[in-house]
Symmetry: C2
Subunit: 342 residues, 2 copies
């Protein structure tokens, strides 16, 4: 029975081949097969026999068994609020490609900025023995919360900041918001209003802070326009635009907010000339096709992603310095017409 199993299985196609089957067919020990598959040197002759047996049986190693035995699942968790916007969908795409290049597959989990769901996800990743986690965290996240769920798994905060004891990669939000604000002020606008959704979001808070700093430094009063949802932001915006203290320019902190602004312009039937100048964050596909073409801060998404994974993997293979790192990358101001340029 046992000796025949390898061949029997091929014919019956009942079960998947195992290392043992391969070992039998190649007349070697199971661990030799294992070694060969993991790239540990084996004698050339043996290697070839094993390779043939693998092909003959259509053998694929079982990652569950591997993970169980070795403790590493070759999997990383990607935990985000959502994927359906320009920034995150690009991030996800790049994360997946680069993780794969490093031999890991991605488990994707979205939490919609709900802390409880995020915790569920972290627990899920622990169950799946994820080797590491890239996390864009929900408001309210703390190191303690994370560590109580996944004590031993390396975590890198992406586009968010948790504490000095967790690695993070983000846009240099405050600084780039200062640049953006200064650019608007440079056009001569003084009544500049800062528009964004989700006031609890870390990145928005930082950007708003940068904006406020510059405004205050110029003895101008910062005005923050925020709402928790798309529709609400729209109606608040509409009021402000129709009110008496009409802004001279708008600083939009996300593609989301930019969309609200443009929607209001359209709903109000504003002609090009009547549209208040805008400078926005995120250089999404259609930023240059809307009216007027949007001047934006472009985030260095590819760099953010590769830095995040480099950081994470340096933890995984233990090559990292013990000190946690907070990498902040600078954005690029893409000048188009909406801010009043040319």
């Amino acid at each position: 029975m046992k000796i025949a199993s390898a061949r029997t299985r091929i014919k019956l196609q009942k079960k998947r081949a195992t290392v043992t089957d391969v070992a039998e067919l190649a007349h070697v020990g199971a661990s030799t097969v294992s070694r060969f598959l993991r790239g540990v040197p084996v004698r050339p002759k043996v290697a070839e026999r094993v390779a043939q047996a693998v092909k003959a049986l259509g053998y694929e190693p079982d990652e569950s068994a591997r993970a169980l035995r070795s403790g590493r699942s070759r999997t990383i968790g990607l935990v985000l609020p959502k994927v359906s916007n320009a920034f995150f969908s690009q991030s996800v795409q790049l994360m997946e490609e680069q993780a794969r290049q490093r031999g890991c597959t991605v488990i994707l989990l979205t939490h919609g900025d709900r802390l409880a769901e995020q915790l569920e996800h972290l627990a899920t990743l622990r169950r799946y023995r994820a080797d590491g986690v890239i996390l864009t965290c929900a408001p309210g996240t703390t190191t303690r919360i994370i560590r109580s769920v996944i004590p031993e798994v390396p975590v890198v905060a992406f586009d968010s900041y948790i504490s000095s004891s967790i690695d993070s990669v983000l846009l240099d939000n405050r600084e780039v918001a200062r640049t953006a604000t200064e650019h608007l002020l440079g056009h001569g606008y003084r009544n500049v209003v800062c528009v964004f959704g989700k006031p609890e979001t870390y990145s928005f808070q930082e950007r708003a802070a940068g904006y406020s700093e510059v405004m205050s430094a110029q003895s101008l009063i910062p005005r923050l326009l925020t709402a928790p949802s798309y529709e609400l932001l729209g109606s608040v915006l509409q009021e402000v635009l129709q009110g008496k203290d009409r802004p001279e320019a708008l600083l939009s902190l996300s593609d989301f907010a930019s969309r609200s602004i443009l929607t209001v312009y359209r709903d109000l039937g504003l002609k090009m000339a009547e549209r208040i100048p805008v400078l926005g964050f995120d250089d999404f596909d259609f930023a240059q096709l809307v009216d007027p073409p949007l001047t934006v801060i472009r985030q260095p998404i590819a760099e953010m992603v590769s830095n995040s994974l480099a950081l994470l993997f340096s933890r995984l293979d233990g090559s990292a310095p013990k000190k946690t790192r907070a990498i902040s990358l600078t954005g690029e101001l893409i000048l188009r017409r909406s801010c009043g340029c040319a």
Copy 2:
């Protein structure tokens, strides 16, 4: 040593708790813990003890071990060309949420329309023992190819069609393209050109076929404008728009193509009045904010996703009829100004 292990582990935090630890602490057998966790009836008193022990130890079942033992990983694979466009990013988002609702996590893999990479991904999913696969396939995919890599895993083709022996869910591409074309002809345009990228893509072929049918039926000559890349499509388009046989209207088969068209309009400096009417596929975020607001076919993404998962899970729990199914859902024509309406 053994008896003390449960408590020792809590203090040392060296290792994760296992069923055995929980069993010891609750003074029951390991299999009772296993049963409790999977919802198999247990005596109430015992249940409570186990529940407390689980909480006290911060126990989470190990999915690798579960998968190894039971053969089911509670994981599904999502294999797509990319995630960074409106259609796919929304699809991914919904897939993840709904898969999670059904107790599965999602392994995300992108192939960029490269057949070889797609095959790698299917092999990867087999290694991870994925319970099922949602696949938007690369050009050239056949049932045989798929089955040679993952013989025993249920596959549902999403937004693509492989053969009558693999379940699929798609837009009623041909029919909805007919509707779109007829709408344009209804405006009186006769020289209608169909624009799209990636001519090998199944959906585009179907849409183009629907377009061609309607054109031919009206004794009009179908004109297909295609290119493998964004830039190329743009330059081809530019030539055609400046040529002598200028189209009277454009049928764009994807958000991608729509973007090319609008970019060319902009690059050519065309005023609103000079812009050739367009009807496009995909109702992306900014479709109503560009100039002119885009008339589009909106795909029923949510329905497509829920149907795909329903189909897949019916295979998983064996409740499905043996016959494969091809579910085709109809799109919605969203009238805006770009087609010449109002």
